[in-house]
């Protein structure tokens, strides 16, 4: 889909505008990555590993689309995506916090479940449907701001979910580092026992953060079906949930870092496709490998170990 857009661009615009559209495309492509990564940041900062982001995005893309389709209302679709994301995340939370299921297993389970559920219901409800869908989110041009040279078209002529993403990067950053809640969250992820002795309810904090990550993931999922193509296809998320995890790690578990890392990964993707059309001979697959290889390097390097929230992945049990 995006490659077709690029082919049109290439023929019709000057090189400078090529770069502009590249930048715009990068921001747009980075939208689901960033949103999921933000969810991952909140979740892991409180001490819970969430590898279910992929499954969450897939399911919420589906649910959001179905809701929007049935009600012919994109806003309701968005809402449905958010809520379903929170519900799935709640399952992950209950399994890993209450029943002490290993967080990796719990996350994997949700990914598998997501594939199963979306597969089954897609086939039954959507595959044969020929009626026109609810379309995609409209592009909103913000008056005045969208006329600023360079930054204007890139940032201020976007669809709703992308705007939400940009705002949320800032919001999540503020929450994490400037609010009481964020402080307590970080405490729970670094040293839950200490947080407990300071009177904080570690379980509650973790629950809320995991469910919030579900909401963020839900928004990320809605990008695919409600913003990008206005439809749902099985496997539409294509592993972005895992790239988002990589972005989170690469961004050192900070919202802004996650955003920049997502831009990097999305950029590698869009640049790669663009280069293809310019005849550059690096196979796209190698460029697409970049986020994954980078993540491995980060995780293996001392960086990865030193900066993850210290208590992430371990259930907190009071003696």
């Amino acid at each position: 889909m995006s490659s077709m857009l690029l082919a049109v661009d290439l023929h019709q615009f000057f090189r400078q505008i090529d770069l502009m559209s590249l930048a715009t495309l990068t921001i747009v492509t980075a939208t689901p990555l960033t949103l999921a990564a933000l969810g991952g940041v909140m979740c892991e900062r409180s001490g819970v590993v969430n590898i279910a982001l992929e499954g969450i995005m897939l399911t919420t893309a589906f649910v959001g689309f179905v809701a929007a389709f049935v009600t012919h209302n994109l806003a309701i679709g968005l809402l449905a995506a958010l809520v379903s994301g929170m519900l799935i995340a709640a399952l992950h939370a209950v399994l890993s916090i209450e029943f002490l299921v290993d967080q990796i297993v719990s996350g994997t389970v949700i990914n598998i479940l997501a594939l199963g559920i979306t597969g089954v219901f897609y086939r039954t409800f959507l595959q044969q449907v020929n009626v026109k869908g609810p379309g995609t989110l409209p592009v909103w041009r913000i008056p005045l701001l969208s006329d600023i040279p360079v930054a204007g078209p890139i940032l201020f002529r976007n669809q709703g979910v992308t705007y939400a993403m940009l705002v949320l990067v800032v919001v999540v950053h503020l929450i994490l580092f400037n609010t009481v809640w964020g402080l307590r969250t970080r405490a729970c992820g670094e040293h839950p026992l200490a947080a407990d002795t300071a009177g904080i309810n570690v379980k509650l904090v973790r629950y809320v953060n995991v469910i919030s990550s579900g909401a963020l993931g839900g928004l990320g999922g809605s990008y695919f079906s409600l913003q990008q193509i206005g439809n749902f296809l099985p496997g539409i998320t294509g592993g972005r949930g895992f790239i988002a995890l990589a972005a989170m790690i690469f961004g050192k578990w900070t919202p802004i870092g996650a955003f920049l890392a997502s831009l990097l990964f999305a950029g590698a993707d869009t640049v790669g496709v663009r280069l293809q059309y310019l005849g550059v001979r690096i196979p796209t697959q190698f460029l697409s490998m970049l986020p994954y290889i980078l993540t491995i390097v980060v995780v293996a390097g001392a960086m990865g170990r030193a900066i993850a929230p210290a208590a992430v992945g371990r259930p907190y049990r009071k003696n």
């Binding site: 002490l100 990796i104 598998i112 895992f242 371990r314």
Partner: protein, 384 residues
């Protein structure tokens, strides 16, 4: 319910048979809900599943064919669990094994089958071994979480395969219209076991692999080391065992088995490799291993079950319209129940179900102790 509860208190019986059985039943129960919600009849759906798996013409044969990779992959993941490591990378290692296997199958000419096949299979094992060892070394040397590294390596494997086979890549068949590798030499093809069917020699290999892995784990020093580290890495280290090397070994063996599965599939079933090669066998294998509680012998029925589900799902989809993805729901539920004894305890109001074991590998592994059933029953066996 007292009868069931009473049975549940017999620990060995419970762990080995009842828990997996209950998990399976619950898995199907949850899946039924999905079927009902999607407007179909669960009885029809599961009936079609069974029919597609067993009673249709060729059904049993297809089921067995589908079981073969599950056996290898399940064994691989199980070995990982026994060593305290969570190998989510089986899928990627599966791909690499297929690539290496197909490469040997396509490139070497003039070799008799009796040489060509083993070399190709060994190449497949090598591919999986190398791929998994990356994660193993990173874990042993840098403490990198094998879960993250193996997931990332999966994607790299997919992309690598895509590059190699798609768009006239190095391994692509230049003359074909669809992206695929060339066909392997006939000397590399695995012989068919039952004439007129697709059932290939891989089944024999898989059936041999089970006792081999069992032997490795329970009768050799390597296996002992693996189990010791998986159960208590701290104590193992204090007794002089090198935990780092053991981790590399575990991942290596696990990957080799997964790679063998990949090579086996290519050499035995398709005789070439398409770019989108797997339907998620590697992830299913996690469920296979968990259901079998990482016991090599139990992998057989577990793999057979998943093979049956996989091959019957196609028919179920055809006849009832319920997507084949339904079996993923069964799998996911099974995993939950197997991996959450506390959940079982809560549901059945038991008192002595063990708490979910957490860390094994003290060196920071995120793997859960979803590991073997009984301790080395081998000692008991030799003595009695």
């Amino acid at each position: 319910m007292t009868g069931l509860a009473g049975l549940l208190r017999n620990r060995r019986l419970r762990d080995a048979v009842l828990l997996p059985a209950i998990s399976l039943v619950c898995g199907f129960a949850v899946a039924s809900i999905a079927v009902v919600l999607s407007g179909a009849n669960p009885i029809d759906a599961f009936g079609a599943l069974l029919q597609g798996a067993f009673t249709n013409r060729n059904a049993l044969e297809e089921t067995l064919i589908a079981t073969i990779p599950y056996i290898f992959l399940g064994l691989g993941v199980a070995v990982g669990f026994r060593g305290g490591l969570f190998n989510i990378g089986a899928e990627g290692q599966f791909y690499l094994g297929a690539v290496f296997g197909v490469f040997v199958g396509v490139s070497l000419h003039g070799l008799p089958g009796i040489l060509h096949i083993p070399i190709a299979l060994l190449a497949g094992m090598l591919g999986g071994f190398l791929w998994a060892s990356i994660a193993g070394v990173l874990k042993a040397r840098f403490g990198a979480h094998e879960v993250i590294t193996t997931i990332m390596l999966n994607y790299v494997a997919f992309l690598l395969t895509d590059y190699l086979i798609n768009n006239k890549g190095p391994l692509a068949d230049k003359h074909a219209t669809a992206p695929k590798t060339p066909f392997i030499d006939s000397t590399a093809q695995l012989p068919i076991l039952v004439p007129g069917t697709r059932l290939h020699m891989g089944l024999i290999l898989a059936l041999l692999a089970v006792p081999l892995v069992w032997f490795l784990l329970s009768r050799t020093t390597i296996g002992f080391r693996i189990r010791a580290v998986g159960l208590n890495a701290t104590a193992a280290r204090a007794a002089g065992i090198s935990v780092g090397w053991t981790m590399v070994t575990v991942m290596g063996i696990s990957g080799a088995l997964a790679g063998l599965a990949g090579a086996d599939e290519v050499l035995g079933v398709s005789h070439f490799m398409p770019p989108s090669f797997s339907v998620g066998y590697g992830f299913d294998a996690i469920a296979v291993a968990l259901l079998a509680r990482s016991n090599p012998w139990a992998i057989l029925p577990s793999a057979f079950l998943f093979g049956a589900m996989r091959s019957g799902a196609g028919f179920m989809q055809l006849v009832t319209g319920v997507s084949a993805d339904l079996i993923s729901i069964v799998q996911a539920t099974v995993i939950i129940f197997v991996a959450a004894p506390l959940l079982v305890r809560w549901i059945f109001r038991l008192r002595d179900v063990p708490e979910a074991p957490v860390h094994i590998a003290e060196a920071g592994g995120l793997a859960s102790a979803a590991s073997g059933a009984a301790p080395a029953a081998s000692l008991e066996e030799t003595a009695t």
